[in-house]
């Protein structure tokens, strides 16, 4: 079914994004945002109406960025061209975000200046397509994000929204997620996790939706811990009923804590939270 970029539930998710940014952007004058805005640019327009960035409508109907530093990714050439026409003063890449990060790894790591891509304040991965079909896996993408952000030792907000696509998911993707869960359950450091997991599910099978949500959240939290970030705030949400596509939305704000304060305990606690605190957004 076609993806609908807006719905009452999605609006609530967007308001959560605003709330996260507002809570954690005190003192930031030029908010840096990396996003997948699609042609409608709903998130950017909302951020502007909430005063987080400033977009000004121009003579030609395009919006120009007056305050904030915006970088967009769009792999569809048609939508990319629409974005170039609709948005000025921003950088719009005609490329999948993971591919761009991978190809420009060295440049991003060596960059030095406030106008560079990283460190960012917000990264909004609002996928409307099947995550499993990306040329760069979600695991690698998340790893790259934390590598870059960790290199610059700066906290940020990460929002990840994706559709549940059980029927179309690539086998390679599902196998990856299974291996993540299996590794976690068989990790000798994770007895506490294993115990809680078994308590919670009491032998019942995870639904595919729960499984994917759990595994992707685990990837994020694992990379956060590995790169010395702690979670200041998070929400896990699902929505979409009846004819609407089932969606999952994970929201985090990370703080860079350095070598000493990170570690396994934070990681396991946060992952456990995942399986208990998924909010169904009505």
């Amino acid at each position: 079914m076609p993806y609908v970029h807006t719905s009452p539930q999605k609006e609530k998710i967007r308001q959560k994004w605003v709330s996260y940014i507002r809570n954690h952007s005190a003192g930031i004058d030029e908010l840096k945002v990396i996003t997948l805005p699609a042609a409608e640019m709903e998130d950017l327009l909302l951020f502007s109406s909430e005063g987080l960035i400033e977009l000004e409508e121009t003579e030609t109907g395009a919006y120009i960025v007056r305050r904030g530093q915006i970088t967009c990714y769009e792999k569809s050439s048609t939508i990319h061209r629409q974005l170039v026409t609709a948005l000025a003063g921003a950088t719009v890449h005609a490329q999948e975000i993971g591919s761009h990060f991978r190809q420009n790894y060295d440049g991003i790591m060596k960059a030095n200046g406030s106008q560079n891509l990283f460190p960012t304040d917000v990264i909004n991965l609002d996928f409307d397509g099947n995550l499993s079909k990306s040329s760069v896996s979600i695991e690698e993408l998340i790893k790259l994000i934390f590598t870059f952000q960790g290199h610059f030792k700066k906290g940020f907000s990460l929002f990840l929204t994706f559709p549940q696509t059980e029927e179309e998911d690539e086998a390679k993707y599902t196998e990856l997620l299974h291996s993540i869960l299996k590794a976690n359950l068989s990790d000798t450091h994770s007895d506490a996790f294993k115990k809680r997991y078994e308590e919670f599910y009491a032998g019942a099978e995870l639904s595919y939706e729960q499984f994917v949500t759990l595994c992707i959240a685990k990837i994020i939290v694992r990379e956060a811990a590995t790169h010395h970030f702690s979670i200041k705030e998070n929400d896990f949400c699902t929505y979409g009923k009846g004819k609407k596509k089932r969606m999952c939305s994970l929201l985090f704000h990370f703080e860079y804590v350095g070598v000493e304060k990170g570690g396994h305990s934070m990681y396991f606690d946060e992952v456990l939270k995942t399986i208990r605190t998924i909010e169904e957004v009505e």
Partner: protein, 536 residues
């Protein structure tokens, strides 16, 4: 049955439309001369970008979108024109000076006079960036190509010379599937050179605006021009580098005039034709949210005049056809870059900056100098003159019969129609007003100096044997009558007399007030001089 084989077109670099296969090629220039030109003539970012915009125009684009993000090292130019496939790309641009654009027709599919001639413009961007990415899909084809052109490798003095020409850049290209109804060209300039970034970085300009106005920037070209006027700038050249770029670029592309331009309120048929012609091209350029328009706008001015012309002249090289106008006002014309005449071939000006020849095709400098500073003109050439154009598209061969014919016409028109019949009457009517104003100011300052309600002048002649002073004063009930000896002021230049007269008056006044006291005389004299200077 005999099998018909369709020969696949072969390009210089053997490029094909095969999907998914990476192909490589070189962009060559045919001769050393072209190589030198392509390196030297595009001296500003505007002159480079305008070539790409004019290519879009030739490709029947209705909208060109330019996005500048130089701080992040990228300029994007997207058009909705007919596009090209990989073979077209290689044929048109991989061998500079062998452009196919004019081979088949002088006009585009939609009837626009084609601008590009030898393809040199496309390679001009190598002056401002290290790499060019081109993606294009041709109208009616379900394929696009994505090419990356690397200039940096070849930006050394000893360009690689081959038997076929000098290699200006190398490129790699890949064909991909695309929607059949898609047609566009997307050009991304990457690795913008630092000096270019400084020009295109508008942050300083935006900061300046934020300090002075409620709005954060101009909304359209008209506002931009009026903003320049508000700042009382006399020239585009005094503006911020970014705004100079905007004006320069807008001067060289076939976009419409600013609303109301070029002459506000003009109902002249020729000017209306020119304006309508540009609207008819249906060609818009969006530069970061502003539609670029020709920065030629002379606001309504009751004292200004417009003289238009339309001519067809037979020359030894054929028929020269042109039309245009001169706008004449009663004071210094600003911005100064528009003070001149813009010769347009295929609607594009042939000149160095902002499109105007400030010498008026070499009009003698010793004559009509005052009036020349008041006028601006445009000439649209519809036939002829093109062969007179030098390869740099910025100047003409002045010995070409078409150029000479046009020059003779323009000079005669200026002399007979513009300067004597139009500018001189404007000057004369202006002069009376200026003199009255000067007179009024002089009287006002004199009233203050003489401490009088009214000052009147009379000329007197000395009777034989009697020697009068240059002037004398009679004061009565707050009114002062100044009697001036005619014989004095006739010997003195008018300009000098205007000053001397006042000094004599002040002396007479001081003398009267001093009652023979020399010190008092000196004191009052200098006091009155000071009052006079302050009033002036």
């Amino acid at each position: 049955m005999k099998k018909t084989t369709t020969r696949k077109p072969k390009t210089g670099n053997n490029i094909t439309l095969e999907i998914g296969k990476e192909q490589t090629g070189n962009i060559k220039v045919a001769t050393q001369i072209i190589n030198d030109l392509s390196s030297g003539i595009y001296s500003s970012p505007a002159s480079c970008v305008k070539e790409l915009v004019n290519n879009s125009y030739d490709a029947n684009a209705k909208l060109v979108t330019i996005r500048i993000k130089p701080v992040q090292d990228v300029i994007t130019i997207l058009d909705d024109g007919d596009g090209m496939n990989a073979i077209d790309f290689d044929n048109n641009f991989a061998w500079i000076s062998k452009s196919n654009k004019r081979n088949s027709s002088e006009f585009s599919r939609t009837g626009r006079p084609l601008i590009g001639k030898i393809g040199i413009g496309f390679i001009a961007v190598n002056e401002i960036c290290d790499r060019l990415e081109v993606s294009s899909s041709k109208r009616g084809e379900a394929v696009k190509f994505v090419a990356t052109i690397d200039f940096k490798k070849f930006q050394k003095e000893s360009h690689k010379a081959t038997e076929e020409g000098i290699i200006k850049a190398g490129y790699s290209l890949i064909n991909e599937e695309e929607a059949r109804d898609a047609h566009y060209t997307l050009i991304t300039l990457v690795g913008i050179k630092d000096e270019v970034k400084n020009i295109l970085d508008n942050r300083q300009y935006v900061e300046t605006l934020k300090k002075g106005r409620a709005k954060s920037t101009f909304k359209n070209m008209k506002e931009l021009l009026l903003y320049s006027e508000d700042k009382a700038l006399k020239a585009f050249g005094e503006e911020d580098a970014y705004l100079q770029f905007v004006f320069n670029l807008a001067s060289y592309i076939p976009v419409e005039y600013i609303d109301g331009g070029p002459v506000e309120g003009s109902r002249d048929r020729i000017i209306s034709d020119i304006v309508k012609m540009h609207k008819g091209f249906d060609f818009k350029v969006d530069l970061d949210g502003v539609y670029l328009k020709k920065p030629i706008f002379f606001p309504r001015n009751e004292k200004a005049k417009v003289k238009t012309f339309e001519e067809s002249i037979k020359t030894s090289s054929g028929q020269l056809k042109f039309k245009g106008y001169f706008y004449i006002q009663d004071h210094l014309l600003t911005p100064r870059e528009l003070n001149g005449v813009s010769l347009r071939i295929r609607n594009i000006p042939i000149a160095i900056r902002y499109g105007y020849d400030t010498s008026f095709l070499g009009y003698p400098t010793y004559t009509d100098q005052i009036f020349k500073n008041w006028i601006s003109g445009e000439v649209y050439v519809s036939a002829g003159l093109e062969d007179a154009m030098n390869i740099d598209r910025q100047s003409f061969r002045e010995t070409h019969p078409d150029y000479i014919a046009l020059q003779n016409f323009i000079h005669r028109f200026l002399r007979e129609q513009v300067f004597s019949k139009t500018a001189m009457p404007i000057y004369e009517s202006g002069r009376k007003a200026r003199e009255q104003l000067k007179h009024r100011d002089t009287r006002k300052s004199l009233k203050a100096v003489l401490d009088a309600k009214k000052v009147s002048f009379e000329e007197v002649s000395s009777a034989s044997g009697e020697t009068l002073k240059p002037l004398s004063l009679k004061q009565s009930k707050g009114n002062v009558t100044v009697s001036i000896d005619k014989s004095y002021f006739k010997k003195i230049k008018k300009k000098d007399w205007d000053y001397l007269k006042n000094i004599f008056l002040i002396f007479e006044l001081a003398h009267k007030a001093s009652r023979g006291d020399a010190d008092k005389l000196q004191e009052v004299f200098y006091e009155k001089i000071k009052t006079w200077v302050e009033e002036k």
